[in-house]
């Protein structure tokens, strides 16, 4: 149990000035070596170092790092803490980089204290208190079933499970029924590569971040020249918003994005589209626009109230079903004639806000909506844990698959490759539900014809 090094966010999730990520275990020093740029020649215990934290060569943040050599630490093991900006996305990136290390994983609720207790650093009385944490955490935090994942992720995970079952079955068949099967390694390598790609998809997919809550995306969309950028900047200028400009942190970062509490607000251009146009390109534009909105949790649709609606806007709005939406009628400061009446024909269920970014009118209301939504989409520690845990399992599976690929290429023995598959199946069980040896047998028999 104590073989793996654990990591966790020690401060409450969400926006704050500082976030503290702590790690405990024998891999602490290795993690420090990989994550800290300009590692000091000798880490002085309990001294704060102001350093850049990097993920390979990409900068995550610049913050404070402190090292606690065991046994003089909270848990009794080697520990370290990273004090970074309290931005959830940043924390996510940091934790991801940490658990990518070998034999490092996310901590279970209360696990630091648990280790402290196990290493004799804490007495029974304190342990009683933590027992609540342990038992409360066990059922819910490990709801890593398909239901806990967002739809797209669940689908991919299901496909992965199926592919890996096939691969397991192939290896087992080659062991049990040597003579009957003509088994080509090439095709297996091909399947492995496909499985790897699926995992990469899962790992890279922003759908993961959806579950975190940080990835909750509120999109500001609308036709060209309606004042989206101005609105964006106006909201940005608000000193409660935090900019997320971390050069090169991950490939997913959009330039026009900011965080309000833990919610990401993004700018999306749906310029000049007209679904009723006979122009195919324009129609495609609408579809693309809707596709881009697919992963959005909520929509602020901005229009220029001084212009006549072109007709496609309400249709577009009605097709957005992923979450709450508000119509912002911008440029209300401009004198409008009868055209404005057309905008007043908005459907009942759609909330409309009269806005003028220029004059500031309505901005307060918009902020209130954002505030309300950010409360609604608040992530729980649970969600954070589940997603990171899922990610961790996928990383482990990916590493295992790589070992299998290499093994097959180097002529490694089938039974050792089978052992790797067994570990992978264990991880898969945690991710998608139990995989038993009977499942593998079932797959063997359904896809292979057995002779003797």
């Amino acid at each position: 149990m104590n073989e793996e090094t654990i990591a966790a966010l020690a401060t409450p999730p969400g926006q704050s000035g500082v976030a503290v990520v702590r790690i405990s275990g024998e891999r602490t020093q290795a993690i420090l070596k990989h994550l800290v740029r300009q590692v000091p020649r000798k880490w002085q215990a309990r001294r704060f170092y102001y350093r850049e934290l990097v993920d390979i060569n990409e900068l995550i943040d610049k913050g404070l790092v402190v090292f606690f050599p065991g046994p003089a630490s909270y848990t009794g093991e080697d520990m370290a803490e990273f004090h970074v900006h309290g931005n959830p996305f940043l924390v996510q990136t940091l934790l991801t980089a940490i658990i990518r290390e070998e034999r490092v994983r996310m901590a279970r609720p209360g696990e630091f204290s648990f280790r402290a207790y196990m290493n004799g650093k804490m007495d029974l009385m304190s342990a009683e208190a933590l027992s609540q944490l342990i038992s409360a955490g066990s059922d819910t935090a490990y709801r890593l079933s398909l239901n806990a994942m967002s739809g797209g992720v669940a689908q991919l995970a299901g496909d992965l499970r199926s592919a890996l079952l096939d691969l397991s079955a192939w290896v087992e068949t080659s062991i049990e029924f040597a003579e009957d099967q003509h088994l080509e390694i090439e095709s297996q390598l091909g399947f492995l590569e496909t499985a790897q790609k699926k995992i990469e998809l899962l790992l890279g997919k922003s759908a993961f971040y959806d579950r975190l809550g940080q990835g909750v995306r509120i999109i500001i969309a609308g036709p060209a020249n309606v004042g989206k950028s101005s609105l964006f900047n106006a909201l940005l200028g608000d000193d409660r918003a935090i900019v997320s400009e971390y050069p090169g942190t991950t490939r997913d970062i959009l330039k026009e994005r900011f965080y309000l509490h833990h919610v990401a607000v993004e700018l999306l251009d749906t310029a000049g589209i007209n679904p009723h146009s006979s122009d195919q390109i324009e129609r495609e534009g609408v579809e693309r626009g809707l596709a881009a909105l697919k992963d959005a949790s909520a929509l602020l649709f901005v229009v220029d109230v001084s212009q006549k609606p072109q007709g496609w806007e309400f249709d577009f709005l009605s097709r957005f079903q992923s979450g709450p939406k508000v119509l912002l009628l911008n440029k209300s400061d401009l004198n409008v004639g009868d055209d404005s009446h057309s905008w007043k024909q908005i459907p009942q269920e759609l909330q409309g806000i009269s806005l003028s970014v220029k004059s500031g009118q309505g901005l307060q209301e918009v902020r209130a909506v954002l505030e309300k939504w950010s409360q609604q989409f608040k992530p729980s520690t649970e969600d954070l844990m589940i997603s990171l845990r899922q990610r961790e399992l996928l990383e482990l599976i990916s590493q295992g698959l790589k070992r299998i690929s290499d093994g097959l290429k180097n002529g490694e023995m089938m039974e050792l490759i089978a052992e790797e598959y067994r570990s992978i199946n264990d991880h898969l069980s945690a991710l998608t539900g139990a995989v038993t040896s009977d499942d593998v047998l079932q797959r063997i028999f359904s896809s292979f014809c057995i002779g003797k």
Partner: protein
């Protein structure tokens, strides 16, 4: 007073049960429906195979008969998966069926404390929960302290060939019509299973030149450590493929197959499908392999492995006519399917005793397993345990990490089966450690302490083990020149491309030749090097688990102080007062979370003590 044991059925399970019990000093009566068919191989004339060969070695480690018989009557020996790693290599031999039966009969005749008797058991007599006697159909009563049922496929056996069917336990042998009822009266629930066997052809009518020869190993490897004679391959087996037209014939007449016409209710094994199963399920394959295996050296019958079916005989003949080389083949026996009663093995405990009754054991195919080796292994365990129970001793239970026997029994009694159970290596979590080359190392100490091995047999095993240890040490110290670098031999052997032969080639000083090593020793040494990392991790986990299970729980522990236990768990544990963690984990109603909390607490206590 010697214990009186009655073994019902003299098939592979019955023979091992009877011999094991009599070796332990009990007085055994082996009762069978037909003395002439003792040790009959119903189906494949062969012993061993992947996972099955492993069982045979384990049976040998316990001093059983099957390995001796296999070696004595083997006519073709092959090591399967030879090019693969040591854990998955397995021995398989073809046997002369007649010789095998004769060997078994003579062996049983010579066995002390063992009587053979022909008859059908019509009732099992109990007094309260304890077995006291059996009754036979001809009105006799035999007292017994324990009864071991090894009825095989005979209970309620019905044979199907196409549309015709008749009561039989095996082709042309009467079925047992009493035992099923007897068991049901005792409260045992039964299932109905099926299996099949292919046709037999006359050797002289086959054009052997049309098939691919499969010679045996040179030299052949014995199954038993006790085998002294030099083994010889006396026949060659042959392989063929079914033509496209055969597939058509099968599909055209599917409605005539007993399996597909719904006349058979029994559930058959997935992995041993009839030829109609194969074509129906695997629609992409238009052709299948089959093997022609002579049933003896002088015997005229040839077993056609792979063409099991319940299609009518005339369809079988049609199939033969389209196979090149078999156009003129003369059928000596048609293929058939057989349905039979089996018990739900979950009614047995790990010693193979029927729960709720003292002294009634079940072993072999009637437990839902399939295969001679599976049956023999169970028979041996049941025979030993029947005696041990009467002596008030702990039963012989092989754990999952100790042998395939353990994997099989645990699978059968804990999970039960929906179809005939056959062993595969993939069922074993500890596959890397459960090998043919180390069966004796794993089990012979257990066997010796029970009295199943003689002192000299045990000594021989010990000598071999020491020899292997010495060589392992030598490998650890020895260095060879590998592509310009000096590396440890043990390290080098770990590489997939390096095996013993390669290593020998690099051994300038002849260190590897210092000991007399046979194939099994070499496999052992290779395995120890190649699997070392994985086995170490498995052993660690195992050790942790064992240590945990052994952990004593303090007698006066107030469960209220254990963090993480719910009120209900505290209550349960306080009432039952388990003495060890193992006991706690076996208690009904204790949740995994509670066990976890208890484990953590006990580990903490353990640490404090240190």
């Amino acid at each position: 007073m010697k214990e009186k044991i009655i073994v019902v059925g003299a098939g592979h399970a019955g023979i091992e049960a009877a011999c094991a019990a009599s070796r332990l000093g009990a007085e055994v009566m082996l009762i069978t429906l037909q003395l002439e068919s003792i040790g009959q191989m119903s189906c494949n004339p062969s012993i061993g195979g992947i996972a099955k060969g492993h069982l045979v070695r384990e049976i040998d480690a316990f001093g059983g008969v099957m390995p001796l018989a296999a070696d004595a009557t083997g006519i073709h020996f092959l090591t399967l998966n030879r090019s693969k790693g040591p854990a998955v290599r397995a021995g398989r031999c073809q046997n002369d069926k007649g010789d095998y039966r004769n060997f078994m009969f003579r062996y049983l005749e010579k066995q002390k404390n063992l009587t053979l008797y022909q008859g059908m058991v019509s009732d099992i007599v109990c007094q309260g929960q304890k077995i006291t006697a059996i009754k036979t159909e001809n009105g006799e009563t035999f007292n017994a302290d324990a009864v071991i049922l090894c009825g095989g496929t005979f209970m309620g056996g019905v044979i199907h060939v196409g549309a015709s069917h008749y009561s039989a336990g095996r082709a042309n042998e009467i079925a047992d019509t009493c035992l099923s009822k007897v068991l049901q009266n005792l409260g045992v629930s039964l299932k109905r299973f099926k299996t099949g066997t292919p046709m037999r052809l006359h050797r002289g009518s086959i054009d052997w030149s049309q098939f691919i020869p499969q010679p045996g190993d040179e030299p052949p490897q014995p199954f038993s450590q006790r085998t002294r004679r030099v083994l010889k391959n006396r026949i060659i087996c042959h392989m063929g493929r079914t033509p496209e037209s055969l597939r058509q014939i099968v599909l055209d007449h599917l409605d005539l197959s007993a399996l597909y016409s719904g006349r058979i209710d029994g559930i058959g094994p997935r992995y041993c499908p009839s030829i109609e199963d194969k074509f129906v399920k695997f629609t992409s394959r238009t052709s299948h392999h089959f093997y022609l295996e002579p049933e003896g050296v002088k015997c005229a019958e040839v077993y056609v492995n792979g063409l099991s079916t319940s299609l009518p005989v005339w369809v079988q003949r049609k199939m033969l006519s389209v196979i090149t080389g078999l156009e003129n083949a003369v059928m000596m026996r048609p293929a058939y399917a057989i349905e039979y009663d089996a018990i739900d093995a979950r009614q047995l405990d790990h010693s193979l005793r029927l729960k709720g009754i003292n002294g009634l054991y079940c072993a072999g195919q009637l437990n839902g397993s399939s295969g001679y080796e599976e049956a023999a292994a169970q028979g041996l365990l049941a025979g030993v345990n029947a005696v041990l129970a009467l002596r008030g001793e702990e039963p012989l239970i092989v754990k999952r990490h100790q042998g395939y026997m353990g994997v099989m029994v645990d699978d059968l009694v804990r999970q039960g089966v929906d179809e005939p159970y056959r062993l595969f290596t993939s069922r074993a979590e500890y596959r890397l450690s459960l090998r043919e080359d180390n069966a004796h190392e794993r089990l012979s100490e257990m066997a010796y302490s029970l009295g199943l091995l003689t002192a000299s047999e045990y000594k021989e095993i010990d000598v071999r083990l020491r020899r292997r240890q010495r060589m392992l040490v030598a490998l650890g110290k020895m260095r060879v020149d590998w592509q310009g670098n000096w590396v440890h031999a043990a390290q080098l052997l770990r590489r997939p491309e390096v095996n013993w032969q390669v290593l020998k080639g690099l051994d300038g000083e002849g260190i590897l030749c210092e000991e007399q090593l046979d194939e099994s020793d070499i496999a052992y040494l290779e395995a120890n090097c190649k699997y070392e990392g994985y086995i170490r991790i498995q052993n660690q986990r195992l050790e942790q688990m064992n240590h945990l299970l052994r952990t004593q729980i303090p007698k006066d522990l107030d469960y209220k102080i254990v963090p993480g236990l719910s009120v209900e768990m505290v209550h349960r544990l306080t009432i039952h007062k388990p003495e060890t963690f193992a006991q706690a984990s076996n208690m009904a109603g204790v949740t995994p979370a509670a066990l976890n909390a208890l484990r953590a607490f006990l580990q903490r206590l353990d640490r404090l003590k240190k």
